[in-house]
């Protein structure tokens, strides 16, 4: 059974790509065949894996099932972890989706033939509310939502829960946390009290997370045993536990038609 997990937030710069890259790395390291699809035209995950941001035939043809995703997938430096790269043409993905039938089912249909090869598929999503995000909500079993503990973040969270009501499981976690800031501590306590879907693990604002873009690597390699690496491990453990608890209801691979 394949689990489709999307790192998503309406806002940018909150740690989506770091989460997608580090969590997919941990999934593969645990022995699960894993794919990360970099849906963001900026291609940050693709860059971190040192892979050319190029999809054969471009995004529009991929979305319309004219080309096979398998032909564009690249192996990363890590065993068991593959990447479906970003492509600059993804910036027009909304238009491509808008011009097709049942646009919100498109991403799920692109992914369907890959379920048999992967246990986890991560989607690294561009920040927006658009046809792309609606299509992601349709394809994903769970949204992994990084939240910076600051004013308005509670509001962001509530908006999102409303937006995907009845859709994928929402698993939010704190990101870019500075424990020395009392505001961060206060907001975290408040949100955890109010929302059960808020995960316990939190990702600190740390040098090694920022270094990912320079070293083009994962935190587990930049600073093994460091605060960030341990936090991502705790987060992944937490995510997996929540997915397992959601049980048979979740999971792709049997319920979506291929073509």
């Amino acid at each position: 059974m394949t689990r489709v997990l999307a790192t998503y937030n309406i806002k940018g710069g909150v740690g989506k790509t770091s989460a997608a890259v580090n969590l997919s790395y941990l999934a593969a390291r645990g022995g699960a065949r894993t794919l990360l699809w970099d849906l963001d035209p900026q291609g940050a995950s693709t860059y971190l894996f040192r892979i050319r941001p190029k999809v054969r035939g471009g995004g529009r043809r991929l979305i319309r099932l004219k080309t096979r995703p398998e032909d564009s997938i690249k192996g990363t430096d890590y065993l068991g972890l593959d990447l479906l790269p970003a492509d600059f043409s993804y910036r027009h993905m909304d238009l491509a989706l808008g011009g097709s039938k049942r646009p919100t089912t498109r991403l799920a249909r692109v992914l369907a033939p890959l379920y048999k090869h992967y246990e986890y598929i991560f989607l690294d999503c561009p920040p927006s509310i658009s046809l792309v995000s609606e299509s992601v909500f349709e394809a994903a079993d769970a949204l992994l939502v990084p939240i910076i503990p600051a004013t308005l973040s509670s509001r962001t969270f509530e908006q999102l829960e409303e937006l995907v009501a009845g859709g994928p499981q929402v698993l939010a976690f704190f990101s870019m946390v500075e424990v020395r800031k009392s505001l961060h501590r206060e907001v975290m306590a408040q949100l955890r009290a109010r929302h059960v879907t808020m995960l316990g693990a939190a990702i600190p604002s740390a040098d090694e997370v920022e270094r990912m873009g320079v070293d083009r690597s994962v935190v587990a390699e930049i600073a093994p045993g460091g605060r960030a690496a341990l936090s991502y491990e705790a987060l992944w453990w937490d995510v997996k536990r929540r997915l397992d608890a959601a049980g048979a209801r979740g999971g792709r691979g049997a319920d979506v038609n291929g073509a």
């Binding site: 022995g31 894996f49 192996g75």
Partner: protein
């Protein structure tokens, strides 16, 4: 499909450090870990894992299934691990169903089904991992310099030639081809075998395991006694090869393959009876029949236990758990039957039945031809005659069947059908054109499936009835009886359905076209 070796052999005395330096002259390398690896490889008795282009191995508390390049369709030759599971100790024998549920169990089950994984070879290696990188420092090909040694069962260490193993990274096929060229330019020879195959050979094992397939080449003009002895000799090999696994209850396929080979031998004995001296033949037929009889109950109960989930699934969901007492009774009976069977199979009579049959086959063609009218006749002539005769007999039997016919008539027809199938597979396939034999086997198989279902349901209903008293005496017995009643009902419905399908499948089997083909080919 035999796995391709993607490896290159290193010169005899070179150290892994020197080898790395040698490769570094031509390739941009990234240094990885250097480690000692202790791996234990597994396969089924008949080599199903290897045949699927995979390797099953245990290392550091993990059992994994690896793609050697022939199987997955995902990046061929990648050496990628398809699935893993934590297993505390290297198992001595492992069924897929014994693994925790998850991808490894699913993948493995699809490959080995009910067969058990058995230890194949134990390998200790010194491994130096390297990566070939591109101008962005992206890994494009994985390399492992490996110095392997086989550890035999007796603890002896056999060093194998050191090698460079290549693992492609998905989407970087061109780079892999370039690395191959570079290795060839450096004068390294391509390895003929994968490291696992080489280890198996070094340990004195057989590549691909022990097959129960009967593929004996025959020539049309060959004497019938020589051809018959060749086929029967191979069948005896299969019988003997599957005996130890049957006795040890390694997996259910040993007994199954043992019995199929005995049954096929009996069919050949019957159909080629004109090549044997009648008195001796009668003795050996009796002994094989005895082997068949003493293993029959065990096999039937194996099937009940193996297919119990199908039984369960055929009753409405709320009654499924109620069938547990039935399963307990079947398991208990299976163990009793096994004990009896094992005692018989270990007896002098069983050993003698096989050795004397082998010795008899070895001297068959040297025996006087008196009383063996078919002995010297060309095998194609005799086999063709038998095939058309049995086919015509089946036509007569099948035509006599209608809605009022008792079940025994179906059973008799099915037995004849098995006879024809063995004739076609063992003698028809090597002697007559495939374009005739194959479709004939296919249409026969369709008919046999229907007849088999009919017969199985009939027998299953009778078995369930015979177990009713014993089941009812157990805790939960009353509920179990109710569920068994439902089961019997489903089985009877299916038996009737099979009866309904008989006319159509027989019609195809007996079509004018088919009859003409049999006449033109075999008479």
């Amino acid at each position: 499909m035999a796995p391709d070796a993607h490896d290159y052999l290193l010169p005899g005395q070179v150290t892994l450090a020197d080898a790395g330096e040698l490769l570094g002259r031509r390739l941009a390398l990234r240094e990885g870990a250097t480690r000692s690896a202790e791996r234990r490889f597994y396969d089924t008795f008949d080599g199903l894992v290897r045949a699927a282009g995979l390797e099953a191995s245990f290392e550091n508390g993990r059992l994994s299934l690896t793609d050697t390049g022939a199987g997955s369709g995902l990046g061929a030759g990648s050496g990628e691990v398809l699935a893993v599971a934590d297993v505390a100790e290297p198992p001595e024998r492992l069924l897929a169903d014994e693994l925790p549920s998850g991808p490894l169990r699913d993948r493995l089950k699809a490959v080995i089904d009910v067969r058990a994984l058995l230890p194949l070879v134990h390998l200790e290696s010194e491994v130096r991992e390297l990566g070939v990188v591109d101008s962005d420092d992206k890994l494009v090909v994985r390399l492992a310099l490996e110095r392997p040694a086989v550890i035999t069962r007796s603890g002896r260490r056999i060093a194998l030639r050191a090698r460079v193993r290549l693992f492609g990274v998905r989407g970087y096929g061109e780079e892999l081809a370039e690395v191959r060229e570079a290795l060839a330019d450096l004068g390294l020879a391509r390895a003929e075998h994968t490291v696992l195959d080489e280890a198996v050979l070094a340990a004195g094992g057989l590549l691909g395991g022990v097959s129960s397939k009967i593929e004996v080449e025959l020539s049309a003009g060959e004497r019938s006694d020589v051809a018959g002895a060749a086929v029967l000799g191979r069948l005896l090999e299969v019988i003997e090869a599957n005996l130890p696994g049957t006795i040890a209850d390694v997996d259910a396929e040993f007994l199954h393959d043992f019995r199929v080979a005995v049954r096929r031998s009996r069919a050949v004995q019957r159909e080629l009876k004109g090549v044997f001296p009648p008195v001796q033949l009668a003795f050996h037929r009796g002994e094989l029949r005895w082997l068949q009889q003493v293993t029959g109950v065990s096999r039937d109960l194996d099937v009940y236990v193996l297919e119990f989930d199908d039984f369960r699934a055929s009753v409405p969901e709320q009654f499924r758990a109620d069938l547990d007492p039935l399963l307990a009774v079947l398991r208990g009976r299976r163990l009793t039957a096994r004990r009896e069977m094992v005692r018989e199979l270990r007896s002098d009579r069983a050993r003698e039945a096989m050795t004397s049959w082998g010795a008899f086959l070895a001297r068959l063609s040297a025996l006087p031809e008196e009383g063996r009218p078919d002995a010297a006749r060309p095998i194609a002539e005799v086999a063709g005659e038998r095939i058309s005769k049995v086919y015509r007999r089946m036509l007569r039997m099948g035509r006599a069947i209608d809605a009022s016919t008792p079940p025994e008539a179906y059973h008799e027809l099915r037995k004849k059908g098995k006879e024809l199938r063995y004739l076609l597979e063992l003698l028809g396939a090597p002697l007559f054109p495939g374009e005739v034999v194959k479709p004939m086997v296919r249409s026969l198989k369709a008919l046999q499936d229907v007849l088999g279902r009919h017969q199985d349901r009939e027998v299953q209903v009778a078995t369930l009835r015979s177990l009713a008293e014993e089941v009812s005496a157990l805790t939960g017995g009353a509920a179990a009886l109710m569920a068994m009643g439902l089961l019997v009902d489903r089985l009877l419905i299916d038996e009737r359905a099979a009866r309904g399908e008989f006319a159509q499948t027989f019609h195809e089997f007996a079509s004018g076209e088919q009859r003409k083909l049999v006449k033109d080919t075999f008479s």
